[in-house]
């Protein structure tokens, strides 16, 4: 074929080079939006993809160095905004965009990375509540993983000194931001586990930008927290900052200050509680003893317990009564005897000689022998006799003794005759 109008004949390479120069000059910096498709990640580390929209598509490449800086995972179907330069791949005569930066459409790269990792770790079960270890109530030693140049360490130490002055704290200084920070944090957590001296760890830092806090959103930190046998309290930034570390940790503190409040109880409060319990213990026991004593007292005062004593008293009373009755009976007996005696005495008296004498009889006795004279023969004339009268006595001398009847010459003046011999 003859070239017309004397036009320059170009080699394929030459033309391609010209196209390339032209494209690269005109599109040395483009910013375009599209959907990721046909994503490929060969072993070289470069990432190849096709960006498309409803009407067209264009090849794109992310060289290894750019790909490693990518925070989030590219996925097919993802809407992205890329910045890059157009170039031509000469061996195939194709043009492509060399991507210098890529952003998810609608949100920041970090935000997407955060969501992606959160989603992945959650599916893996790293956030499961049942995987969370309980915090010790009174840790003997608290490990702290943070920067010693930041505010967090000061906040933690200040709060601990106030709440629990004798707290034992071991700090493992780490960088908390910048390249390598996440690895350092992860290593520090592993070291605390290896050392074994701390009962609980506080891992965190003070507030900062999302970029500053990024180390706590990295997978290596999440894995280290999850692998830790020592319970971990995460304490990253301020209340509004939520990191992956917060989800994996056994307990999330909103701030480093709050972590220090969570990790140890207030000593003064504990001492007060112990004192109060001690008081209640003693009071309760005293109450119980008082109760027992009162019950004992009630029993002692009860009828059943008093009964034996009552019986004794009753017997004693009965005895007293009997004694009284006995005395009375004796007295009555004596009285009755005395009465009978008096009666007998009365009757005796009535039958006695005195009353006979009253009636005019008399008793004559031999004066000397006091022998009662019952017959005349007992005496002889001239013998002295004594005659007892009701009132007084006579002494006389026998004149004559006359057989059966004796006539006694009475002394002159005595009209009475002894009519009957006694």
């Amino acid at each position: 074929m003859q070239p017309s109008h004397g036009e320059e004949i170009l080699s394929v390479s030459e033309l391609t080079r010209r196209i390339r120069r032209s494209l690269e000059e005109e599109f040395d910096s483009v910013c375009l939006v599209g959907e990721v498709s046909n994503l490929r990640r060969p072993a070289s580390g470069h990432v190849y993809l096709t960006l498309k929209d409803s009407g067209a598509q264009i090849s794109a490449v992310l060289w290894r160095s750019s790909a490693s800086r990518l925070r989030f995972d590219l996925e097919d179907g993802m809407e992205v905004i890329v910045t890059g330069a157009l170039t031509v791949y000469e061996p195939r005569g194709s043009y492509q965009v060399v991507i210098s930066s890529i952003q998810p459409k609608g949100m920041g790269a970090l935000q997407l990375a955060f969501l992606q990792l959160k989603d992945r770790l959650e599916k893996e079960g790293l956030f499961r509540p049942e995987a969370k270890k309980p915090l010790p109530f009174l840790p003997a030693c608290i490990g702290v993983v943070t920067s010693t140049t930041g505010a967090a360490v000061g906040d933690i130490l200040t709060v601990l000194a106030r709440r629990f002055p004798p707290a034992h704290v071991v700090i493992r200084p780490v960088r908390v931001q910048g390249a390598g920070a996440a690895a350092e944090i992860a290593r520090a957590i592993a070291e605390f586990n290896e050392w074994g001296g701390a009962d609980v760890l506080i891992v965190g830092r003070g507030g900062g930008s999302l970029e500053d806090l990024w180390a706590f959103n990295e997978e290596v930190v999440a894995r280290a927290i999850h692998a830790s046998r020592v319970p971990i309290i995460s304490a990253v930034g301020h209340e509004i900052d939520v990191t992956i570390a917060d989800f994996v940790a056994d307990r999330r503190a909103l701030t480093p200050t709050e972590a220090a409040e969570i990790v140890l109880p207030e000593l003064a409060e504990l001492v007060g509680r112990l004192g109060e319990l001690r008081g209640r213990l003693t009071t309760a026991l005293r109450g119980r003893v008082d109760l027992a004593r009162a019950r004992l007292e009630r029993l002692r005062a009860s009828y059943g317990f008093r009964a034996p004593l009552e019986t004794v008293r009753r017997h004693e009373q009965r005895l007293d009564e009997l004694a009284g009755a006995a005395a009375l009976a004796v007295r009555r007996r004596v009285e009755s005897c005395r009465e009978r005696l008096a009666t007998a005495a009365g009757r005796l008296q009535a039958l006695g000689p005195v009353r006979v004498l009253e009636r005019g009889y008399s008793i004559t006795r031999v004066l000397e022998s006091r022998e009662v004279i019952r017959s005349a023969g007992q005496v002889q004339a001239g013998q002295a006799v004594e005659t007892l009268l009701h009132a007084g006595r006579l002494v006389s001398r026998v004149e004559t003794v006359n057989g059966q009847t004796s006539v006694v010459r009475e002394d002159p003046g005595s009209p009475r005759a002894n009519r009957r011999g006694a």
Partner: protein, 80 residues
């Protein structure tokens, strides 16, 4: 037994004693245990000793601690 467990035991003993449902023997036994628990808790608190140290790796690659000295905060990495 840990401080928390001992403290919980003490609280339970006090509640049992306060319930008034124990026999005198039981009450005395609880009281003795309560006093022992209180003593133990108090001893644990008294044994705590203030120490602030830094975890370091020794020459023999073993991890140990040395006293902590607060560093100058002028080069703070975080802004809070």
């Amino acid at each position: 037994m840990s401080f928390e467990k001992t403290l919980e035991a003490l609280e339970q003993i006090v509640e049992e004693l306060e319930s008034g449902e124990l026999t005198l023997d039981e009450a005395l036994e609880r009281y003795e245990r309560g006093v022992a628990a209180h003593k133990e808790c108090t001893a644990i608190l008294a044994a705590a000793e203030k120490r602030i140290e830094v975890l370091v790796q020794g020459a023999d690659a073993k991890l140990g601690t040395r006293p902590f000295e607060a560093e100058d905060g002028s080069a703070r990495e975080d802004g809070s």
